[in-house]
């Protein structure tokens, strides 16, 4: 592994200059390394970060990757890691023109990392440096505690997808509006909602009343508002004062909860485990936005490498070579999904729409398809608009907002499903739907979406940890429940319970079922409670009470 040579570095600097002129924003320093395929194989289980802590599962992955490479050799592409300064890895045998294309791609990734708000918490965080410190910490612990360090890492990682990533983000992205009085905050945020549990129309009515008072009496508005409120709720003042005295406990995710409250982890001899868990948790949070912006990030990079490459005066004469590589990366497959292709087309489409002023109520109200096509307000604000999209969206909002029928029809997209043809013994892939609604759903179903699992301190036996999986019409992967809960039990040091939903197995067997014809079978959900006690898992059914 070595830095790219001066000649190539100069090409990179040229790319940076041009990318900046086009509007991309990123820090000056970057590091580019040449790596071999072998290096890539070894780094990929560590999310390409050489300094990430060692863990045996990574070794297993490397061995597996090597075996796979032996059978199916392939050339990995470029990789960028989001750190400060950003580091990217390349193959050593790329011609200059290809490097130009790849550099633009990489620069757009860096721009994305450093401007998209979902990466906010990574902006002032030196990942490689921190990772190195963590790696040393874990190596040191391992020399003292042996394989128990690996168990703690294992159990930590088994719940590291439940980290409170959005809580972390919201802490950083608090709106900076001047805060209103505490009493007012309490009244509207806590009292009406949690204490009184008023109906929505009552709540809205109170807000209107407040605005009214404010308008009428100005400075004294709040006072007069509360004077009336006091009449209606005589206890208000007392509970408010009481609330000031009780300390607000910040919302904790499962890992934080374990670190804070686990009797086992807080024993003196086990406190070292918490530092290991903290490392696992931080690493997970760091990578959360990466998984949630895959389509956007790749689309953004593809959009820019195409645009900037074609404008670059240094590579004249390689348009055909470029076209071939570019098409390979960004073609829409007949069957299958390509995030590069999809994201790039979305960005181009959005830019075009914003250029014509189509992202407006006026356009949305148009029903006539001919008029929709012809519509052009001449706003020419497309570029500016996609920069805003790159700043404020993640894959979910991106798809949910911009994949509409025009987009699906325009690119001839459809949802594919497969069915078994018994006669020919083949899987048939067929066009299931060309509706934007279905296409959007299919896309969203492929996105990363960890289950929402929260701690309910009120439920469960004494000393047990009671977890509640929020029902989203998706069951958990059954085979994984036992081992995951065993890990939590270990970290908690006591019984762990998990409330989740499962699909009731259909009562009728296959024969009567197929006789019933093609009628879609009804999915029956059943709330169940798993209990992990002394490393034994049991399951009971929960009666629907609410």
């Amino acid at each position: 592994m070595e830095l790219i040579n001066q000649h190539t570095k100069k090409i990179m600097e040229g790319c940076k200059e041009r990318a900046r002129e086009a509007g991309l924003r990123f820090q000056d320093e970057t590091l580019e390394y040449i790596v071999t395929n072998r290096d890539m194989l070894e780094l990929s289980p560590k999310v390409m970060i050489p300094t990430l802590y060692d863990y045996w599962v990574n070794d297993v992955e490397v061995l597996k990757g090597k075996g796979k490479y032996e059978l199916y050799p392939h050339n990995p592409y470029e990789t960028v890691i989001n750190t400060h300064p950003p580091i990217s890895f390349y193959n050593d045998n790329n011609p200059d023109w290809l490097n130009v294309m790849i550099f633009y791609h990489v620069l757009a990734h860096i721009d994305f990392f450093q401007n998209n708000l979902f990466f906010r918490h990574t902006w002032d965080y030196d990942l490689t440096g921190q990772a190195l410190a963590d790696k040393r910490l874990i190596a040191r612990l391992r020399s003292e505690k042996g394989r128990w360090v690996d168990y703690v890492i294992e159990f930590g990682r088994s719940v590291d997808n439940l980290v409170g990533y959005y809580d972390e983000l919201s802490r950083l992205n608090r709106a900076t509006i001047p805060s209103l009085s505490k009493r007012l905050d309490y009244y509207f945020d806590v009292f009406l909602q949690s204490v009184k549990k008023v109906k929505i129309h009552e709540y809205v009515h109170e807000i209107e009343r407040y605005n009214d008072c404010k308008n009428r009496y100005g400075e004294m508005g709040e006072k007069s508002f509360f004077a009336d409120a006091q009449k209606k709720y005589p206890e208000l003042e007392t509970v408010y004062i009481k609330s000031l005295r009780t300390k607000v406990t910040p919302k904790l995710d499962l890992m934080q909860h374990l670190m804070e409250y686990s009797p086992f982890l807080n024993k003196d001899e086990n406190k070292w485990m918490k530092t290991v868990l903290e490392v696992v948790r931080k690493t997970s949070i760091y990578f959360q936005p990466q998984i949630r912006t895959k389509i956007m990030n790749e689309g953004w990079a593809s959009y820019w490498h195409e645009k900037l490459f074609l404008q670059d005066d240094r590579i004249k004469g390689h348009e055909v070579d470029f076209a071939r590589v570019h098409a390979g990366v960004t073609s829409l497959p007949r069957v299958g999904l390509n995030p590069y292709a999809l994201g790039m087309r979305l960005f181009s489409t959005i830019e075009e729409m914003a250029d014509k002023g189509k992202i407006s109520i006026k356009f949305q109200m148009l029903k006539d398809s001919h008029a929709r096509e012809k519509f052009d307000a001449g706003t020419a604000a497309g570029l500016d608009y996609i920069f805003r999209v790159r700043e404020n969206f993640c894959d979910f909002t991106f798809i949910d907002t911009f994949v509409d029928q025009d987009f699906v029809t325009g690119h001839k997209l459809f949802v594919v499903d497969k069915r078994l043809n018994q006669g020919k013994m083949v899987w048939e892939y067929y066009v299931k739907s060309r509706k934007a609604k279905d296409y959007r759903k299919m896309l969203i179903d492929t996105l990363y979406h960890p289950p929402r699992i929260e701690i309910d301190p009120a439920k469960g036996e004494d000393d047990s940890l009671y977890l509640v999986h929020r029902f989203e019409e998706k069951p958990l992967v059954k085979e994984f429940i036992a081992n995951t809960m065993m890990g939590i039990e270990y970290l908690w040091g006591g019984t762990v319970q998990l409330e989740t939903s499962e699909i009731e197995p259909p009562a009728q067997d296959m024969e009567t079922y197929s006789a019933a014809g093609a009628k879609e079978p009804q999915v029956v959900w059943q709330r169940v409670l798993y209990t992990m006690k002394n490393r034994k898992l049991s399951k009971t059914f929960v009666q629907a009470d609410s």
Partner: protein, 455 residues
Amino acid sequence: MSDPKAHLTNIKGQGLPPDRKERLLSELHDEGSQDPVDHASEDISGEERLDGYDNFSAIEASPTLQGTYTMRIRSIDELLERDKMREKDGFPRKIRVGKLVKPARGGKEKFVVVPTTVEEKFLHDRVTTPTGEGEPTGGTGEGEEGEVVGEQPVRPEGGEGEGAAGGGEGESHEMESSAYDLGKILTEKFELPNLKDKGKKSSLTRYTYHLTDKNRGFGQLLDKKATLRKILETNINLGNVPDITDIDTTRFLISPKDKIYRILSREIDYESQALVFFLRDYSGSMAGKASELVVSQHVMIYSWLLYQFARQVESRFILHDNQAKEVPDFHTYYNLQVAGGTKVATAYRLVNEIVERESLAKDYNIYVFHGTDGDDWDTEGSEAIPELKKMLTYSNRVGITIAEHGYSAAGNTEVERYLNQSGLLKEKPELLRLDVMGEDAEEPRLIEGIKKLIS
């Protein structure tokens, strides 16, 4: 070239210059001098400043980047050793040894042994309905809703999944060596039973010594007749025998080279070689998981036997639906898929015929492994059972695996029923084994199955 901008416009004006490569390079070199100075200096200072970044100098210095990372990756053996410790600590094992197979024609498929593991988490699963179609995905292009846009054989012919065909000529022994590794790991990791000494000598590479070879000059036993003949021959050539009717032996010259001895020689004992018949039901009902399961298990059994018998294993592959046929290599055995009825008896009969025709029974330890989903048109087994009985007279072990379909009631397949009724399982537990599993059984279950079949 002194003015890069003029140079650029020059190029642009020319369109496609013939010496474009040269020009491109020179232009790219030029770019540096054209760059504002601060950029170029920034570049260098950027790297110099690295030393100022504590962490980065640390990265550079850390051994991870010096190529020693590989050295620190644990080998499969070490990982397995570690995995064993888990049981002691009260946690289930996590590493599985799997194999990647890249099938190819002519028995040249490549096996690679790899460890795998799963990091269990709470993850969302797909909602599966009994009619469950595949996982929907995206597509592009023409086609009405409902139109079929592509087909894929249930069992792909040309290898699984990604990867272009070709690439790297696999030596045939390469597969053997990797399968051998797999066998070794299976034996050690999963504590599969070592083969029992079945009254014969356990070594399969044993040799016997016979005075069968002849050697001139020295040896263990003088072959008088042959020696005399040789001496006579030499002396005829020397002209010492003028009259063939009146031989004067006293005039003979006797060369040491003419003495013929019998000498002890190593003879490979063919008797203790192993021959394995792999039988697979490839009828229509076997499509999908059931076949997958049977084939995986047979790969493992094959590997394991290869290890146990120190590679002295020969294997024969037989496929059957309502007819049986022998196929030449594992590739064909692995890949062939036909929709047809099922008659188990045909396969058994074919094995018996082969054994008889080539009189294999006296030279080989014979193992027969049969994988099926339990379907048989011969519901009573009236043909299969007699063939099976015959097979049991010469084979060391017959192992039958039934991969039951999810939709049929457990323990209710034809094969299982008639095997139970025949009483053979109880009568000859040493020779005949049956293992029944669900078609979605996982690898550990497969290994359990192997234990059951061969212990």
